[in-house]
């Protein structure tokens, strides 16, 4: 999987959890700009875990400030799982 594919999926998941302007999110968009709070982030992570069969620990989420951070984390984790 590449960044574009995962970004597209993250946008779709954000839209599912009713985040406004999800479709406009880029790799550099921050959660703050999207008004994504901690619970939204947990929800996003759970759905990404289900989608890709990866496991993301709370500890790993600490540095995740942007959409791109999440995309790269998912790719790294799925590589680790493979």
């Amino acid at each position: 999987m590449d960044e574009t594919q995962v970004l597209e999926l993250v946008r779709a998941k954000l839209d599912e959890i009713k985040v406004e302007n999800a479709s406009a999110a880029t790799m550099d968009t921050t959660w703050e700009e999207l008004d994504v709070d901690s619970l939204d982030l947990v929800e996003l992570v759970q759905s990404l875990e289900d989608e890709y069969g990866v496991r993301i620990e709370d500890e790993q989420l600490k540095g995740v400030k942007t959409v791109g951070d999440a995309v790269r984390l998912v790719i790294a984790q799925s590589g680790a799982a493979a």
């Binding site: 009713k18 619970l39 929800e43 759970q46």
Partner: protein
């Protein structure tokens, strides 16, 4: 003649912990009448067996319920035990046993239920607390602390989930005549302004309302069902 069951408000089911008798059984009956498929989760008997104090047993029980009925969208944390005694003589085991079932159990079940509710963008959690959470009753330090903890848990979950269509409320029953209280009801009923002990159905009616579609804007509330005992 039995009335036709109403169609459940959502595609999912209800779990009532400790629902084999007393308040829990009345709540289960009420939710069934409201159209929900109901799974009673109890240590013995019930539709699915689990000790709510054991998080792994709770997860397995929820897995079994969801495989059969779909997501748990209504959760009534009712399982409760009493181990009364003055604090000065209370064993750590009696303290812990009450905490494990009454408070930890509610947390385990709530945590497990929330992910399905989140996905559905709809959920109703009702914690069955007690009047002693608000007004001290000597001999029940463990029970009162566990039930007061439930009120704080209730309000916190309500805040955390408030924007996701999930509500979490509590009821505080007063003197209710059940197997668990039969030994003390006669001594206490004189204090109740209503002049009688409550019935499990009195409590179930309040819980039924809090689980309904109409109660969507009632969140983080504590509803007294006590015949004005605490008023």
């Amino acid at each position: 003649m039995t009335a036709m069951p109403r169609v459940p408000p959502r595609d999912g089911c209800a779990v009532v912990t400790g629902g084999t008798r007393g308040i829990g059984a009345a709540v289960a009956e009420r939710l069934r009448a409201d159209g929900w498929p109901v799974a009673v989760l109890a240590r013995s008997g019930g539709d699915v067996r689990a000790d709510v104090g054991d998080p792994e047993a709770v997860a397995a029980a929820f897995d079994a319920v969801e495989a059969r009925h779909g997501p748990v969208l209504v959760l009534v944390n009712n399982a409760g035990v009493r181990r009364d005694g003055l604090a000065i003589r209370m064993s750590s085991e009696d303290w812990q046993a009450v905490m494990d079932t009454n408070l930890n159990g509610a947390f385990h079940c709530t945590r497990r239920a929330l992910s399905g509710m989140l996905k559905a963008r709809w959920g109703r959690i009702v914690n069955v607390s007690s009047v002693v959470a608000l007004h001290a009753n000597p001999g029940q330090a463990n029970y009162a602390a566990s039930k007061a903890g439930l009120l704080a848990l209730t309000r916190t979950i309500a805040r955390e989930m408030g924007k996701k269509g999930i509500t979490c409320n509590a009821v505080t029953p007063g003197i209710v005549e059940t197997d668990m209280t039969r030994d003390v009801v006669d001594d206490l009923v004189g204090m109740v302004p209503a002049g009688r002990a409550g019935t499990p159905q009195d409590v179930a009616a309040a819980v039924g309302f809090l689980c309904s579609e109409e109660a969507a804007y009632v969140n983080g509330a504590t509803l007294a069902v006590d015949g004005a005992l605490a008023a």
